[in-house]
Symmetry: D2
Subunit: 325 residues, 4 copies
Amino acid sequence: MRIAVASTIVLLSAGTTLAQTREAGPWWPNPAWGAGDQAGASNWITPDKVLEAVGLVKAGKIYEIGQVYEKGMPLFGRRTYALLSPGSPTYAFPTANRIVANDEFVCGEIGQVGTQFDGPGHIGMKVKMADGSTQDVYYNGFTGAEMYSAYGLQKLGIENVKPMLTRGILIDLAGYKNLPNLPARYEVTLADVRGALARQGLSESDLRPGDALLFRYGWSRFWTEPAKYNTDPPGIGLEVARWVVARKASMVGSDQSGTEVGPNPDPSLAFPVHQELIMKNGILNIENLTLEELARDAAWEFLFVFTPVRFKGATGSPGRPLAIR
Amino acid sequence: MRIAVASTIVLLSAGTTLAQTREAGPWWPNPAWGAGDQAGASNWITPDKVLEAVGLVKAGKIYEIGQVYEKGMPLFGRRTYALLSPGSPTYAFPTANRIVANDEFVCGEIGQVGTQFDGPGHIGMKVKMADGSTQDVYYNGFTGAEMYSAYGLQKLGIENVKPMLTRGILIDLAGYKNLPNLPARYEVTLADVRGALARQGLSESDLRPGDALLFRYGWSRFWTEPAKYNTDPPGIGLEVARWVVARKASMVGSDQSGTEVGPNPDPSLAFPVHQELIMKNGILNIENLTLEELARDAAWEFLFVFTPVRFKGATGSPGRPLAIR
Amino acid sequence: MRIAVASTIVLLSAGTTLAQTREAGPWWPNPAWGAGDQAGASNWITPDKVLEAVGLVKAGKIYEIGQVYEKGMPLFGRRTYALLSPGSPTYAFPTANRIVANDEFVCGEIGQVGTQFDGPGHIGMKVKMADGSTQDVYYNGFTGAEMYSAYGLQKLGIENVKPMLTRGILIDLAGYKNLPNLPARYEVTLADVRGALARQGLSESDLRPGDALLFRYGWSRFWTEPAKYNTDPPGIGLEVARWVVARKASMVGSDQSGTEVGPNPDPSLAFPVHQELIMKNGILNIENLTLEELARDAAWEFLFVFTPVRFKGATGSPGRPLAIR
Amino acid sequence: MRIAVASTIVLLSAGTTLAQTREAGPWWPNPAWGAGDQAGASNWITPDKVLEAVGLVKAGKIYEIGQVYEKGMPLFGRRTYALLSPGSPTYAFPTANRIVANDEFVCGEIGQVGTQFDGPGHIGMKVKMADGSTQDVYYNGFTGAEMYSAYGLQKLGIENVKPMLTRGILIDLAGYKNLPNLPARYEVTLADVRGALARQGLSESDLRPGDALLFRYGWSRFWTEPAKYNTDPPGIGLEVARWVVARKASMVGSDQSGTEVGPNPDPSLAFPVHQELIMKNGILNIENLTLEELARDAAWEFLFVFTPVRFKGATGSPGRPLAIR
């Protein structure tokens, strides 16, 4: 399986004569949601799915599974995060009620810092098209030419994604391995995933379309050590990614910065899981979670809530993911 | 009642000799949540309240009740919102899988632009203290001296507020008045609120502690006309605010920029409802909603979901409020 | 002349078979400064030119010819400018000397807001290359492929431009026309320029290589009315631009937002003077000046000082241009 | 002398009964420039001073003595600097001339990052006033109450400072000590300064009012090692600062982040030289220079040029300082 995937990728990148156009290509139009769809696998979240997920709430207990945003948290590459308080206070009115008020000012790659949710416009591929041109192609065949602007994406912006209220499943790999965290660079295998599910009393057939699959690697324990956190995290590879696709998940998530193993064991590939999930299948991805409390409580199944902020044209979203039981 | 409130405010601002200190003053420590509490009325959202709210979901239908964030939307005062796409694409890797990836860069008063949720550190008052000093005092008696820093609030930051998953009640005032929108500067009366509830088949006794009370004025129809939208919106005044306090609401919200009538009919007061709710009682406030679809569906009661993003030290939060039935 | 220019442009854009490559094309390599040069016409500012310019200072009088930067000033397109004061004060140290200190926080298109100096990486053209590809080509043949990154230009960044200490010449067109300002959309003719010089007791032969030529249209009187300021300013067109090139000016400048007439009388051209000067000839351009005081004093010749801030990879620079006599 | 200074500071901070008011206090009104002045020692730069300085240019040679601004450069405290290129290109017009154009987007503490010039509003002191209140007091007695706003300083903003075109003097302390750089934490003594001047063939009497005095410690060699650069730099202390005041310098500068020794040998004082120079005397300060080339050329005296960008309400300015001979 894995070889086939890599072959497809190489085939595409080698620019052999394929008939792909904006209208049709190897991963577009999307077979499930059709040409023009921009919501990706968030489409799985139908009223029935919401009802199923809400039905999991038995105790009313809310778990915070995202991180707090603050300067000094791990950032990828050259990204920035700064929060300033203007004025202190920002306003003071000379009225009888002597009101004072505060703002905050933030700058940074707001959808791609801290706990971050990758939208459908985040990841694409340079593809040789039938007309000889090379184009950046994204989910459902949208091209850079259609999407790019200086002031946000014209297509596949995060505002197209539905709110993520769905059934969440924790897949506790560190627990399965009986380790505080998986080792650096470890690629989680499908056997690991199946073993972890079995340990939790679940099997593959318990997973249902639209579920949010959250992988616990134990990596969040290094959150306060950015250099370590950012280096060579364990994670899933293409084998598990393809299994995720087959499960028809709406999204994945994990307690490291990219969900997938970094770097990929195949040195010719950069972030191929992102392409497999987001680009080819519109399966979304939330990163930099903390899943420790869920694991301690053996909370394997829950109502998952994440509401991507509709910053028009953004590639992703910050937010506050919750697991509720 | 109204007079008494105004008197209190004037009394405080006149600096008469009161015994107020950091430990005790007219609105602190908070009688419900105790000294030191920073979560305010989000504390109403207990497991039981979550269960009650989740139990309202019968159809799995999700209503989007927030606005999309984009340059050109109405902004208060001198606030800023800009979103940039660096690079287009931001990254391109020369690997076999030829991946490209995008970020977005945002700057602005992120918790106080667009659909915005006012946290407990947003609003305070200059108060003459027993030691003769004048201090900025906020919810539960926290002072500017404790809170202010250049890089975010040290106390009462939005990260202290619990996720808002609670029972939501729409109070459709425009519908009650049979108008597309209430007139500019109109102060909603308690009689209006009671009339609107009655029209919806509800009475005061149907409201329960921890509910989110959302006022529909019809003002969101001017969202695309920032100058009009920002000028003199209708809204509740101190009379209704005190009734909200008595209802033990966790939060309020509305389809204009401040929920309260602007300007206040009493020209000596600036944003007194903000003080009454947020500062004195920790009752939170979400602004710039759009409640049209809820009203059309007569969706008066629902699961309300808003998850304030935990930007450490922020005064508020952007987000994506939902009503679910 | 004009026709020829337009023809060249159309020819290029039509993509006829030209031999242009990265190494050679219609405007590259630059005949004066050679392949690889990134400093453009700032190269004219040799030690001798500095001595010539400094020699013009007889009275030691400094004229401020730039605008102050502040929120609310005219901005082009969707640009942003915001300045915040964090903290107030930002820092306070509990030492015996009880020091307090302030910062400011700025965000915006820093080299392209307010008084702005266009660097060599600001303006280019889509060109059909000999290999069939279409590339963005800039001054001296540098291509987008070489220059673009998400975090600043890799080539032709403003840091490559030499400090502008040179002889400045004011060309007072509004004065020549005896108007407070030239009319909107007026294209300054070469005859106008010659007339204005003659009125000032200068002729074309008094201009020397490396001079900074500043055009006064009188348009800065609308600086405080952004909508008017931004609409259809008078300015030079291609006729005068070509004359500027022949004069071997190091730079131009003016008291409107683009120096050139807007829009161009030929509706098929957008900002062609920018291409003629910056892209083809590396002649730099400072915009949004105020030249009123110079005109009042009949200060036609002076030491011009502008020191582009070396923000690495920036397309332009803010700053404080001076005329000194 | 030193003791006296420290005493004054302690006296002030102890809050003993002094008659200081907004109108008069220990360092205000400024005896040289009078009440209300906001330009500080830039007032020394009169037409005569400009003529004197310009007269130093004999060869037309320009030395760059500032650093390039880029992400990763040393930053003080929690400051931020980021530059983004939106779009790549930002604009592309579908006109016959197929123009493309670029912007850059910057965010950060723009006047207090990289090569930075401290304006008169940067540094103050908490002072006990005659009325019992404690106020932040700045140059010429301006108080925080007058100055602070969320959107820039209302008084003493950088826009009040005159362009710095003056006589510059390099005081090469590393050269005098025959070291590549002075040791960490070394406080330069007055004897050192006099020795350095003597080595350069200069004496105290060669210094004149309005000169810019630039101290070379050799510290810029650590510019590319931010952790080292930011830790315990050598620099002048109060002894030399008082001598600078007596020299009536318009400004100082150096090749480290604060010009003064860090930390001060007296642990009860934080940045006292900043107070002595900027706050008490309006003597400005440019930091993070690179003076190596000047030293190599024994360029001790020159035309110094620095034009603070007039960001309204800013505490300082970035820029491109030059030495010209």
